[in-house]
Assembly symmetry: C2
Homo-oligomer: 189 residues x 2
């Protein structure tokens, strides 16, 4: 899927039409496995739509990296706070596999926001989707055990098991790899 | 402050103008201290702008209430996931003090989203602001101690100390009231 289809399907429920032009240009790029896309401290200048591959986003605390998100195809990813506030990024995004992405430059998007209702509907939708994801993760942390959160994660993204190393899944769940091994043996055998 | 000023100041950086009409009606209401505004399990049908007072939002887990947000004047509050997805609310919002609010009905807002760029700019801004708050809280939970989070909370909202009972602040920080008492004696004496 590409950004045009995403906007047609999700923002306009198929009423945008294939002949309508997007109010901003988009660019395509391939990213190699392990390449850092947005480094800590940089100012985010683009919103990436993931076409193929997996991206992780992480924060750093006293030298320790904590994974806060895995991103799968047909989703947007950027250092959102940096993008919105022009502040140095407190997250790092990195390709976990070889990736294909399509992206929008922040400068183009901001120009489009001035007069385009399509651009504003898209920006509203993107912020809302990211917000729903964040609220869900907060609620899961506050109400579910690590085991329940693991089961949810695998249910919603079965490809995680074959594509992401166990120590990274443990980092995302906020538990030790040994605790995750115990959970995995309990849940699947 | 009221919604018209908020949109002029924050969404349009003072270019909206006092003579322009909002693309949706708004309503005013007084809410008594301890009144539940949005109950657990209800479908959120309005976005509230807090004019005066303090509102808390909380989730429930096995009979235990966990406070996830305190809302102060000049901010919007609603059960966002319920509002966006038409799903039963997993949060409860409640007036911590007598409150004055101005609100927008979801049905009016959705009508305005169809054709009004002003409504879409407003909706985008509201989602972005709420997202920035959520990301900040997630990062603080992952990188700061309870003591550091308490100091941040008080720095940003000094009125919390005189307006909100200690046991509620402890619930928000996710710690026992006794731990908070230890932190308070350490930080302020």
């Amino acid at each position: 899927m590409h950004i045009h289809n995403y906007i047609n399907d999700n923002v306009f429920k198929n009423s945008f039409g294939s002949s309508n032009e997007l109010p901003f240009p988009t660019y395509h790029k391939k990213i190699k496995k392990n390449e850092i896309i947005t480094p800590f401290g940089s100012i985010e200048d683009k919103a990436i739509f993931l076409v193929e591959g997996i991206i992780e986003s992480a924060i750093e605390n006293n030298g320790e990296i904590k994974i806060i998100d895995f991103v799968f195809p047909n989703n947007f990813i950027c250092s959102y706070t940096s993008f919105l506030m022009n502040s140095p990024s407190d997250i790092q995004t990195k390709a976990l596999t070889d990736c294909k992405v399509e992206y929008i430059l922040k400068s183009d998007l901001e120009k489009a926001y001035q007069n385009s209702i399509v651009a504003n509907k898209f920006g509203k939708h993107a912020a809302e989707q990211f917000l729903i994801k964040k609220i869900k993760r907060e609620n899961e942390f506050l109400t579910l055990s690590a085991e329940e959160r693991y089961v949810n994660l695998i249910d919603q993204n079965p490809e995680i098991i074959k594509s992401i190393p166990v120590h990274k899944i443990a980092k995302y769940l906020g538990i030790h790899p040994e605790s995750l091994s115990r959970i995995r043996s309990k849940v699947y055998f």
